[in-house]
Structure formats: structure tokens, C-alpha cells
Symmetry: C2
Subunit: 388 residues, 2 copies
């Protein structure tokens, strides 16, 4: 299998973008990635998106976006795995180029959530859960996560405030990311007093949705003649890529507090990359809710079972800590345009490995991981990137 | 790139299946394919589907279906390219296995259309068109195809009845396919007197939607030790696979009567397979509307521009003709469960190449082609299969 390099990255600010349609938002990220890669064409376009049908009454995003950006006749598809759609699209693009079928591709994620022509956002998001056995009971997506957090606190004895560092770190880091939706740092007091959404999840435990797109341009590393010296930046390659699923409905899991698909996909990715948790210097995880950050850290081997919050309390998740997370704001503060998020994470890890992460740069980072979660842990895709 | 074989096929009857949910319909096709292949597990599941969000209020079909069929933790994704979703899913599965990332995969298509929890079917189907520039004008999907047919008749001088053979052939062949939705042959008289849907498209020009699922199990051919002698059937391999896009909106095309993405994807597939139109012995094309059958035949090199209907009038599209199409009923009579259709086509070509096509078997068929179209020609995926 050919080694694949990410040679271009692009993203739009996550925002309520009332001025632009989904095709326009997507094109902004694509053009940025192509400019960054100094390429004028690609052979394929793989688009992670969850909600274009329900919200924009638009399917077939592949030809819509390929056409709009002028990729005349280039093959293009939409890939969906709920909030894991972005990383799923990268994995498809990776397979396409690694197989030799294509010699270049853009993997992107895009979501337009602020302006709905169809169902209301909460109704759209719950399609990530089991329609027959979860949504039909009246559970919203945040309610499912609230049940998990409640049970976790009960099982392991944590208090609500113990989750505060996840949110505080994310907001502090986002303050230095011009693409982040929420660029204001928050205090412990603000976290504690935030409006309750669905107990025990308050507003500061939940990531904001938004409109946004992110894109990466990949090619086989063997085709590149440039070196770090020529481009002035290291070459970032995909050292590991793996995906796994779990039951869609949380109540069908043996242990609803363990993300088995995170464990399985991270273990596979570690093996491919020839690394372990100790080698990961930056980890963009899927902190859609603060409980999810804790569970991801545990399932990927950074904390003992039930001990994820301790990493936050001891400062180890901060840029200067042992395992920095949400270094550009994470889902919590950069924002969570659902089907785009997985590609934002990849863009951010590339920034870290290139040394382009500004004040929240992790010194000397050469191995980074991104993990994107669909549903409440049902589809999990893990990528490990390396700077060469 | 590894050569890939299709070793298992499965399908459900296309019908109004009020008894079963989308996961149940999907599982029936998967189990049939696994039984046919004599395999108990696979490493990946790629699901073509267009409308599960809009109609069943269910996204994340990957983990939903992987979970339901007991593919514990197997990676699974949904792929969408409107009515081309099925073949798109096969192409993704092919890339996954050809790249060496997986050693086996199921590509499937599934659609549940009869029972909607969301929008009405016509409103759901028009999401295949351009929401901002086509649907917003009040055009339905059938209306777009009617405009194309009207213009085609005007440009090339055909009468409505000249398209009758496409429908008559499809119905005649479906009479021998137990999985077909419409198993009654029709007469020229019935075609001519059929109820008008959107002039000039009448009921006999339009394919029926439906509920259905089809699945194929693929593995690298190099891993197979069995021969034709051992299994009693030839080994079917994927000799060509290509996809291309066109503008999403038909009015943006230089020539709305030419399927450029069909031309481009078929030319690529021919080249990969080392064949040309003259070598294709059976062609499962995308006859969602009779005009589409004519346009596909032309773009793929079987008829001169504007002369597609002549192949029907001279009997060349029948099982005994030069280029048999819709040999198991096609979209017109087997039925068109939109996101599943592309995989039904593949299943049917495999049946032909194995000699399992019953009364409509094409004698000595060893090279077959399937072409799946998303939208009115915006996403087109062509596969060429060979019997070895």
C-alpha cells in the first residue's frame, strides 16, 4: 500500500454563516487546500456530510460541489457516518489513492446547519441515534449523552465540576484560533454557572454546532520530490487509519461507559503507525460533550478506566501537558459543524505537525492523532499523522 | 492493484415492504450474499443509500446495519450519490479491498421508500437535483427528465411510441425474475395508452420506486483457491470501475442530451478492462426513464448520437439482440429502490456471467457492464465484470 501525504489544508471559520450556501462554504475550504498545496487539480473528491438532505434539501453533494469548484467531471461522492462523516471521507479518499485508482484526492467535510429548509436541527441530529429504539422514545442526542455522563459520575464518583478542565482548556486554546466559533476563554465560575441543557450536561459541556468546511489534499508520498528544505515545512503523512463500529443504540452495549470502537480503531491505528499512546504528542479528540473527551482518553489508552477527568484536573490535557487535546479549541470551542468536524481535526493536527499552530503550538510535535466519533460512539475513525 | 472478485450476491424482492424496516431489508440481502459466498464474516460494509435520513429519519446506517447483522465492530459507512449510491458503494468497497486495507467487504445498496416518516417521496427524490436552481423552481425529478425527453424528441425527430421497446423489453424480461417488482409483460398498446405522468413521460416510461436491498461480497481474487471446477460456476472479477460527474443542474450543460459522465466513466472502464463496446455482451443500464436508456446507449458507444431508440426498434436490446439491456427487468420493471439500484445491477450481471439468469440468460456471456446514474446524469459509475 502506498504511503499517503497530506500536502494541502484548508478550512472556513466555524460560524453562523447566513451569507453562504453549502456549496459556497465547501468551495472556500477546497480552494484554501489547493492553494496551500499549490495544486490546480485533483482526481477525486470525497465529501463528509451528515445533514445536507434533511437541512438543505440537497443530496448528491458530490457533483454539486465538484461542479461548483470547477472540478470538471472529477468523480465525487458523499460519505456519511453521522458526526464521524469527516474522518470517514478522509478514509475513503485514502483508500482511493492508496489503491492506485487515483493519484490525488481532496477529502473534505462540510455542514450547513444555521439555516434549515427542512427539519429543526435537534430533530436532524437525532438521526445519528437509533430511530426505532432511541429517538422514538423521545430521546434527543444530548439526552443520550447526558444519560452516559450521569451514569459515569455515579459509577466513578466524579462531580460535575471535575469535567470543567475539558471546557476551560478548549476555550483557552480557541482564543488563539481565528477559525474557532467561540474565541472567548471561560472561567471555572462560568462553567459552573452555565445554563443547564440536559442534566448533568450544561451549556459548557456541550459543543456548539455551526456552518463550516475543512479540506485536505492527499497524494502518494512517493510522487513528491520536495523536501522539508524546499517547502520550508515538514511533510505530513498518514501513518495510521482505522475505523470500527459499535451498537448504534447505547442501551445495547455491554458497558455504555466504554467506547469499544475507539479502543479498536486506535489500537489498529497504533499498530499500523508503529506507535503507542506514549508516542502521541497531540490528540484532537471528539469532545462533542465533555463526557466524550473523558471516554476517548480512556479508550485510547491515555487514562485508566473511569479516570479520564483526572487528566484534565492535573493539567495534562493543556498544550504544556502530557497529552494536549483540543489544541485549536476542539469541538467545544472551535465548534462542531457535524459532518465537517473530522476534517477540521485533521487540519489542526497537520498545523501542529508543521509548526503552524501559533500560541498553542506543541513544541517538537511529530506524531499526532485525530479521532472522530459518529453517534454516541457507534462509528469511530482514528488517524495517526507523522511529520517527516 | 489487486484483482477483485465478486464471490457472493444477494437481493430482496423489490416491493412495497410494509412488514420490514430498513435494517431488516438490508440484512436479508447481506445474509443472502454471505450464504452465496459461503463466508461467515467480512472486514467492511459499504452501504449505498440516498434517502434514509429524509424518509426513515435514520442516518448512520453503517453502524445500524453492521450491528443488526452481527458484524461486531466491523467498519461500516454510508455512501451517497443520489440514485448512483449503490454503484458508488461498490466502488468504495473495491478501493478498500484493492488498497489492501481490507481483505473482504460487502458492498450493498438499500432503500426503504414505501413508508415515510419524513417528507413525501417526490420531495425526497428531488434532493437529487439542484436545490437552489432546479427544485426551487418547482421542478420535480420526473419533470427534469421530461424536459430532456421532449428536447430529444424535438432534436432527433422521434415519436413517443419509438421509446416503447425499452419498456416492453424490460417488462418481458422481468416476467422471469422473481425479485422484480412488476412481473407482467406489457403490450405496445398498453405503453401507448398509459397514464401521462409529465409529458412526454407516461407511466410506462417511468420506473417504479420500491423497498429493496442488494449486496455483493468481494475479496481479492489472489486469495481464492477454488476454480470453476470446484464451485461449479465461473469466478466473476471486476475488470473495470470508473466514475465521473457532470453539472448537477441540467441547464448548466453544454448539451443536455449528452451524458458526458457516462461517456467518461465508460471509456475509463473500457480501457481498464481492455475491451470496447463491441465486447460487452450484456449491459444493465440505468433506465429510470426510457429516455435515460437511449442516452446511456449512445454515450457508451452502442448507438450514434440521437439514435438510441433505433436499437430498441430493431430488437437489438432484447436478450437475443446485439446488446441486451434490462435483462432481469431493469429499473423499469425490476424496480428502482433508488440507493439500492446500482447493486441490483451488479447482482444481475453476475447472474448472467454465472449462467444463472434463467429464461433471459445471455448465451455464453463472459463480459458484462453495469452503469448506475445519480441525478439526471450528474454522477455516473460504470463497472465491467468478467467471467473467468
Amino acid at each position: 500500500m502506498r504511503e499517503i501525504a497530506i500536502i494541502g489544508i484548508g478550512q472556513t471559520p466555524v460560524s453562523e454563516n447566513w451569507e453562504h450556501s453549502i456549496r459556497e462554504i465547501a468551495s472556500e475550504a477546497i480552494f484554501a487546500a489547493m492553494l496551500d498545496a499549490n495544486r490546480e487539480r485533483v482526481e477525486g473528491l470525497f465529501i463528509g456530510n451528515m445533514l445536507s438532505g434533511l437541512i438543505s434539501q440537497q443530496e448528491q453533494l458530490g457533483s454539486l460541489i465538484a461542479d461548483w469548484v470547477g472540478f470538471k467531471s472529477v468523480e465525487a461522492f458523499k460519505v456519511e457516518a453521522a458526526c464521524g462523516s469527516g474522518a470517514a471521507a478522509l478514509r475513503m479518499a485514502l483508500m482511493a489513492v492508496a489503491s492506485g485508482m487515483l493519484d490525488s484526492a481532496i477529502a473534505m467535510g462540510v455542514e450547513k446547519m444555521s439555516e434549515t429548509r427542512g427539519v429543526e436541527t435537534t430533530a436532524a441530529l437525532v438521526t445519528a441515534a437509533d430511530a426505532d429504539y432511541e429517538a422514538a422514545q423521545g430521546l434527543s442526542f444530548v439526552a443520550i449523552n447526558a444519560l452516559i455522563m450521569q451514569r459515569y459520575m455515579h459509577e466513578y464518583g466524579w462531580q460535575h465540576a471535575d469535567f470543567a478542565p475539558f471546557s476551560i482548556n478548549a476555550h483557552a486554546n480557541a482564543a488563539h484560533n481565528p477559525f474557532a466559533r467561540l474565541q472567548d476563554p471561560i472561567s471555572l465560575e462560568q462553567y459552573r454557572k452555565a445554563r443547564m441543557i440536559c442534566s448533568p450536561i450544561n451549556l459548557m459541556d456541550a459543543s456548539p454546532t455551526g456552518d463550516g468546511a475543512a479540506a485536505v489534499l492527499i497524494v502518494p508520498a512517493e510522487t513528491l520530490h520536495h523536501t522539508r528544505h524546499e517547502t520550508g515545512r515538514p511533510l505530513v503523512t498518514i501513518a495510521g487509519s482505522a475505523a470500527a463500529t459499535d451498537t448504534l443504540a447505547v442501551h445495547d452495549r455491554k458497558n455504555p461507559l466504554w467506547l469499544s470502537a475507539a479502543e479498536k480503531s486506535s489500537q489498529k491505528a497504533y499498530k499500523q503507525a508503529g506507535v503507542g499512546p506514549d508516542d502521541i504528542q497531540v490528540f484532537e479528540l471528539h469532545d462533542a460533550f465533555s463526557i466524550m473527551a473523558a471516554l476517548s482518553l480512556e479508550a485510547c489508552g491515555f487514562a485508566e478506566r473511569g479516570q479520564g477527568p483526572q487528566l484534565g484536573l492535573s493539567g495534562e490535557i493543556c498544550p504544556s501537558g502530557r497529552i494536549p487535546i483540543a489544541t485549536r479549541g476542539g469541538l467545544k470551542a472551535r465548534g462542531h459543524p457535524v459532518g465537517a468536524t473530522g476534517v477540521y481535526q485533521i487540519v489542526e493536527v497537520v498545523q501542529q505537525l508543521r509548526g503552524q499552530a501559533g500560541p498553542t503550538q506543541i513544541d517538537g510535535a511529530i506524531v499526532g492523532m485525530a479521532q472522530n466519533i459518529g453517534g454516541s460512539g457507534a462509528s469511530i475513525i482514528t488517524h495517526i499523522l507523522k511529520a517527516n
